[in-house]
């Protein structure tokens, strides 16, 4: 007895909302970044579920690309965070309101 697809999709929707909530509530840039990863994972789960529901391998290939883009995004984002922290020791998202340092 397999679990129907909508259950997975509902779980992914809840996971996405939790990630969005964290992104809106937290002020630490690193934790906000982790919440973006949560939202990406929710979307990945949705893609895999649709790949199973529609019996289509394309959904899984898209998840592969999302993983690659997420890895690149994390590398560049963390480099930016390191550059910000090098200039000012205690940087929450509220303090970083200027484009020029």
């Amino acid at each position: 007895m397999t679990v129907p697809g909508p259950w997975y999709l509902g779980l992914a929707a809840i996971l996405f909302s939790v990630g969005a909530l964290g992104l809106l509530v937290r002020r630490n840039v690193l934790v906000m970044f982790m919440c973006v990863e949560l939202m990406l994972n929710a979307v990945n789960l949705t893609f895999v579920t649709y790949a199973r529901m529609l019996d289509d391998i394309g959904g899984q290939v898209v998840v592969f690309f999302v993983l690659v883009v997420a890895a690149a995004e994390v590398v560049v984002g963390l480099a930016i965070i390191v550059a910000i922290f090098r200039r000012r020791a205690d940087a929450t998202a509220d303090d970083i309101s200027l484009l020029r340092g």
Binding site: S17, V82, D94
Partner: protein
Amino acid sequence: MDWFIFVVAGVATLVGALGVVLSRNPVHSALMLVLTLFAVAVLFVAQQAHFLAAVQVIVYAGAIVVLFLFVIMLLGVDRTEDIRSEPLVAQRPLAFVVSMLVLLEVLLLARTTWSAGAPSIVGPASGPGSNIQKIAGALFTRYLLAFEVTSVLLVIAVVGAVVLARRTPSSGVRSEQESAAEQAAEQAAESAP
């Protein structure tokens, strides 16, 4: 058995996600993120996406979270943040309302039907052959251009990270070598006349 796996992995996913959001210490957030990523990998396996489950564990839990932990400990921001203080008025309730609206919208949209697409456009996910064979078949034929562009993206990301993380001479923090050289030049200028 499938239901059991789904419930356990689903609860672990949500507990990890809430842990990421509610932990006061960024290190705890990163470790809770590992829990969520593993549980999502289990859900991938439960839906016959074996290759993606392996990639999820290796790339996400292995590489990305380690990168997060490196940066947290390198910068020394593993101090606990006071999450009770609220600098922006009504930010928390507003954020809660917005995320609940997102959830409600998805669930309301789902009341009609979750999926209405044509099945097996790219290729069947079930049937004979392993999961990795099918992904490779689609990746190196139909999505070959996207795959090549991905490699360009990764090169750009690596170069960008190196440029961003490099210590430039004009930046605020000066290297010890430079300040030592400047001091030597000043001393030379003072003693010259």
